[in-house]
Amino acid sequence: MATETPPETQLPKLTNDEISRYSRHLILPEVGMEGQQKLKAAKVLCVGTGGLGAPLALYLAAAGVGTLGLVDFDTVDASNLQRQIIHSTATVGKLKVDSAEIMLKGLNPYMNVVKHNTMLTSANALEIFNDYDVIADGTDNFQTRYLVNDACVLLGKPNAYGSIFRFEGQASVFATKEGPCYRCLYPEPPPPGLVPSCAEGGVLGILPGLVGIIQATEVIKLILGIGDSLAGRLLLVDALSMQFRTLKLRKNPDCPVCGIHPTVTALIDYDQFCGIEKPAAVGPLEVARDKAVGGAQVIDGIPQIAVEELKRKLDAKEDFFLLDVREPHEVPIASLGAPLIPVGEIEKRIGELAAQKDREIIVHCRSGARSQKAALVLKNAGFTNVENLAGGILAWADKIDPTMPKY
């Protein structure tokens, strides 16, 4: 691994309680007493305590990694518990770092948890990373991916990488001395315009467990110096077909950060690099991402109407056309009873709306983000009176119908 472990004599001693606890490691020749002492000496930083970070941190704690740093600024939400098993029903509403500490210390009181209750930024990343031997990237957005990568390369610390989408996962080890970095694989992030919204953002809850544990395995191997790491290989996991493949990764000599003549020699503005607005400083990432919009304003020429106004119009039986642009599988969860055309099909199926061309159309989705997109498509196609329901189903459930489930 990149950082030198102290010679055996300087490694921390195990107490008798620790020896009992780690006996299944100690009798494994590849770990043994020295390996377990290396684990105790090791400092690992988990960036994110979400779907990937939860199983990752739990297994590292169980394995006896002496110091685990946790970076997260979020709080626990009930919808996290489908996969983020480091949190629990009892800690909903608490800071994720506090919630995670409870579970980690409950599992293993002999390790240190260092809480970084902050958003990782270019201003603090190097300082935070500096104290750790290995970084495990379990984040959920491109800005932080590039930030973690660049900080790891600049500091020469290996990055146990994992990423997931729906039923598919990726894992690798980046930024080792000889190996490639994340930018060798993906020199640039996709532009936000090509990143569809939450319409397809679901994830099979078990998948981050699978991938997070692969990351944990790589971390342990790096600390112990055993086996073949995923450095130079990309593991692809397809949970539906249950197929695992590895592809060769190469260090790109022209890589802007780890290449022969690097042009990125300090951390940059990653929001700008990824072409997106700065996420909110506090609150769940998803809110920042979905950008739920307030009422009584016009965004990109689309008037935003509040749920109270929609309720008034419905009660007054005003003449307008309500359109739902979510996916069909979302309708059974919660619905306002409007006809459905998923946002991705609007352009193709615009003929079905021909009769509404000059009628007042109110478009809605779950949070107001997809419906804004759909409203713009309609406006650009010549529809004259298109509005967006600000806050969507979520706002309706909050302000109009408390019996409606939020998802």
């Binding site: 959920d140 957005n141 990423s163 990726q170 993906y186 060769k248």
Partner: protein
């Protein structure tokens, strides 16, 4: 030959996980793929027709960018082409 379509792009291939195409080179089979599924094109290519830098195409286990012939690399029926998406967990291209 078979082209493996990653989950994020299956929305544009009618949910197909693999698409069978014929062609003599990597470029030709990709062309045929995007002809069959035109919505895929903007996700794989820039408006100028260059493969997007965040899209990785693997011929068997190798990134085509590192093959001497790149997109002109000749292929055999038994070869497999895989598109590797850029995924960040919740977000993707």
């Amino acid at each position: 030959m078979d082209i493996h379509i990653p989950t994020p792009l299956r929305a544009y291939t009618g949910s197909k996980q693999t698409v069978n195409v014929t062609g003599a080179t990597v470029g030709q089979v990709l062309q045929q793929l995007t002809d069959s599924y035109p919505e895929l094109r903007q996700h794989l290519y820039t408006p100028e027709g260059k493969l997007r830098s965040f899209v990785n195409i693997y011929l068997n286990d190798d990134d085509i960018r590192y093959l001497p012939g790149k997109e002109s690399t000749p292929i055999e029926e038994s070869d497999e082409l895989t598109i590797i998406p850029s995924i960040a967990g919740g977000r993707y291209f």
